[in-house]
């Protein structure tokens, strides 16, 4: 019984972490049709906010504003200089952002080196749940993700901005004609997606450690989640991360980590092949 509870908690953690990682990628792809190959590097950059805060001698919590500021500025710069030329050119944008990802990794290596860095857990200690002791920090992250996604969904469905976003995505020329500034909208969407990627790096860094190439794993797993769930909707993202995270956690627990990775790979290939629109289709 305790073992089952632990497996469920681990699966919840996997799904929450994956949802956090994939959200930024889903927003940028869903709203802008840009497959941002530098997504993982924004995750990595967000994690380095801890390192910046440490080097400046600031308290750990200041990593949050540093993360938003640094990642936001870098994303804005990249959107204005590079990405905006690639809207509606999906394959070109893939190559361009891939080059950006290499550039960002190299620059971070130049500044901070390749060494591993540890980020102390903001909340230490274990929480007793039935017969299981679970790391408190993980429970907090799981709760934040659930609350964050609920708010996001409500906002997207109910607010005026949400309506505008849907208008721009569904019919850009009509949206432009009715007075929506689509260029500013695109920049805002790209920066938001990247900042969310950065925040996921910030939150997950204490569990992983920080190093320049940590973004690659984040990109691949987020991509799989989007493939399975369906590109471009919040509901699809939710389904995708639940399936991918669940399969990986379940197979790892039942068999081995190798089986877990294999399961996710097979799933991704099957979906790309048989159901490229994913489980949750747009109308």
């Amino acid at each position: 019984m305790d073992q089952l509870l632990l497996i469920l908690l681990n699966a919840a953690w996997q799904i929450a972490a994956l949802a956090l990682l994939a959200l930024g990628l889903a927003i940028v792809f869903g709203l802008l049709r840009i497959l941002n190959m530098a997504h993982g590097e924004f995750v990595m950059l967000g994690a380095y906010a801890h390192v910046i805060a440490g080097q400046l001698g600031l308290p750990p919590l200041t990593a949050l504003p540093i993360c938003i500021l640094v990642v936001g500025l870098v994303a804005l710069l990249i959107e204005r200089v590079v990405v905006r030329h690639f809207y509606s050119r999906m394959f070109d944008s893939l190559l361009a952002t891939w080059a950006l990802s290499i550039l960002m990794r190299e620059i971070v290596e130049m500044i901070w080196g390749r060494a591993y860095r540890n980020v102390p857990m903001p909340v230490e200690g274990l929480v007793q749940l039935g017969g299981v002791s679970y790391p408190g920090y993980r429970l907090i992250v799981i709760f934040l993700v659930i609350a964050g996604f609920a708010c996001l969904w409500l906002w997207y469905r109910k607010s005026l901005t949400g309506v505008r976003i849907r208008a721009v995505v569904n019919n850009p020329s009509l949206a432009r004609a009715s007075g929506i500034n689509t260029s500013r909208f695109s920049a805002a969407a790209f920066v938001t997606g990247c900042v969310l990627a950065g925040l996921s790096g910030l939150l997950l860094a204490p569990m992983l450690g920080v190093e320049p190439s940590m973004g690659l794993d984040a990109l691949i797993r987020s991509f799989f989640a989007l493939v399975v769930g369906g590109l471009g909707t919040l509901e699809g993202l939710g389904i995708g991360v639940a399936v991918v995270g669940g399969v990986q956690a379940g197979l790892s627990a039942a068999l081995s980590q190798t089986a877990g990775y294999l399961g996710v790979l097979v799933l991704a290939i099957l979906f790309l092949w048989r159901r490229p629109d994913g489980l949750y289709r747009r109308r």
């Binding site: 073992q3 632990l6 497996i7 681990n10 953690w13 996997q14 080196g113 390749r114 060494a115 591993y116 860095r117 540890n118 980020v119 102390p120 857990m121 230490e124 274990l126 002791s133 679970y134 790391p135 920090y137 993980r138 204490p206 569990m207 992983l208 450690g209 920080v210 190093e211 190439s213 940590m214 794993d217 990986q248 956690a249 790892s252 627990a253 081995s256 980590q257 190798t258 877990g260 990775y261």
Partner: protein
């Protein structure tokens, strides 16, 4: 006049060419400047320079000064071998020394084919018997045989769980560990291998917890080791079991951090803060020469110094850099090292092994074992 001048220039050129024939011993240093291990490249280069200084201050090799040439072997094996061969042919290299992974070593040996002496350093799985190859690299037998009984005695443990990445170094190391654990009367309660690049160890941690293990032997490398050990600490498993690994060096420990490092042991041939006079002098000289901010030393990067010192000792013992001449005298050759007093037995070095406790994310050497046999038999 013009003819005279032309002749003079030709003569000078000819003389120049004659003296350009190397009156020096040219050593090829094969270390990673790119790829995942490039982290250790800068420090490896630094200690290589220290080795060259030391060799030249003591009369070079057979009276001739040594000069270093570098090739980047952080690239895939076939490319690494190409880079080494280009260096060998292009710069007329007399001998190679370096630290890199085993796939690269095998590719290099495939090209050298025993025609140029080669010293391999670092940490590896044992078993290399190729002609013309000598090794200062520590083997599983060395890093385990004295250490496991010491840990069993000190920590009163006997239920071992083995976890490693899925390739030959962890598997070969665990083969050695299994025998030694059995000799101490311990039992193996679990064994698993995960793909390189794993970040999620929840299932493994759950299995370790359920197995009732009181000791975990870790052959995970790099970021995998960091993620596993952070998780181990976060789940409070450090109260259940000690951990022990044979490739947890200073950089990995820094990534793991204090919360994940409680009762985490590591055995290696070198730690940056060994307290012997020799090791302290080496570390001080390193800091004085390359600055306090220089790339930190660890068992992998420092090993390049040992490799080059052994190559020089072999050349001096043989009176030549020919492989046959060296092979005739290699057995029993001693070489200079901050690690202690290593001596070549066959083609591998018997040497000192240090056991350090990483509690607090700072290694403290808690035991050392001198003259540990490498355990590799070549016929």
């Amino acid at each position: 006049m013009t003819l005279f001048r032309t002749l003079a220039i030709a003569g000078a050129l000819a003389a120049g060419l004659a003296t350009a024939a190397p009156a020096e011993i040219r050593i090829g240093v094969v270390i990673p400047d790119s790829g995942p291990s490039s982290l250790f490249g800068p420090a490896s280069r630094n200690v290589a320079q220290m080795a060259a200084e030391d060799i030249n201050a003591n009369g070079g090799i057979n009276g001739e000064p040594v000069k270093l040439f570098f090739a980047d072997v952080g690239v895939p094996p076939a490319q690494s071998a190409q880079a080494a061969v280009r260096l060998w042919r292009g710069e007329e290299i007399h001998g190679f020394a370096g630290m890199h992974n085993s796939a690269v070593r095998e590719a290099l040996i495939g090209q050298f084919r025993g025609k140029v002496p080669f010293v391999y350093s670092g940490v590896y799985e044992g078993g290399e018997c190729a002609p013309g190859t000598w090794l200062t690299a520590t083997t599983p037998a060395q890093q385990l045989a004295p250490v496991i009984p010491w840990l069993v005695e000190r920590e009163k443990v006997g239920r071992w769980y083995l976890i490693g990445n899925d390739y030959n170094w962890p598997r070969d190391t665990n083969d050695a560990a299994r025998d030694i654990i059995a000799e101490t009367g311990g039992e193996i309660v679990g064994e698993e291998y995960v793909p390189l690049g794993s970040q999620d160890f929840d299932a493994s941690l759950q299995r370790i917890q359920a197995s009732g293990a009181d000791a975990v032997f870790i052959t995970l490398v790099g970021g995998d080791s960091v993620a596993f050990n952070i998780g181990f600490g976060a789940f409070g498993l450090d109260k259940q079991a000690i951990r022990f690994g044979t490739l947890i060096e200073e950089n990995t420990l820094a990534g793991i951090g204090a919360a994940g490092a409680n009762r985490l042991y590591s055995s290696l041939g070198y730690f940056a803060n060994i307290e012997t006079d020799k090791a302290k002098a080496f570390a001080t000289r390193y800091a004085d020469t390359f600055g306090a901010d220089a790339s930190a030393l660890n068992a992998l990067s420092q090993s390049v110094y040992d490799g080059i010192m052994l190559l020089a000792a072999l050349g001096n013992a043989a009176g030549s850099m020919e492989v046959e001449a060296i092979a005739a005298v290699a057995d029993g050759t001693a070489y200079e090292s901050p690690r202690g007093e290593p001596v070549l037995k066959g083609t591998h070095a018997d040497q000192t092994i240090y056991l350090a406790d990483g509690t607090g994310a700072e290694f403290k050497v808690v035991a050392h074992f001198d003259n540990v046999a490498h355990g590799v038999t070549c016929d």
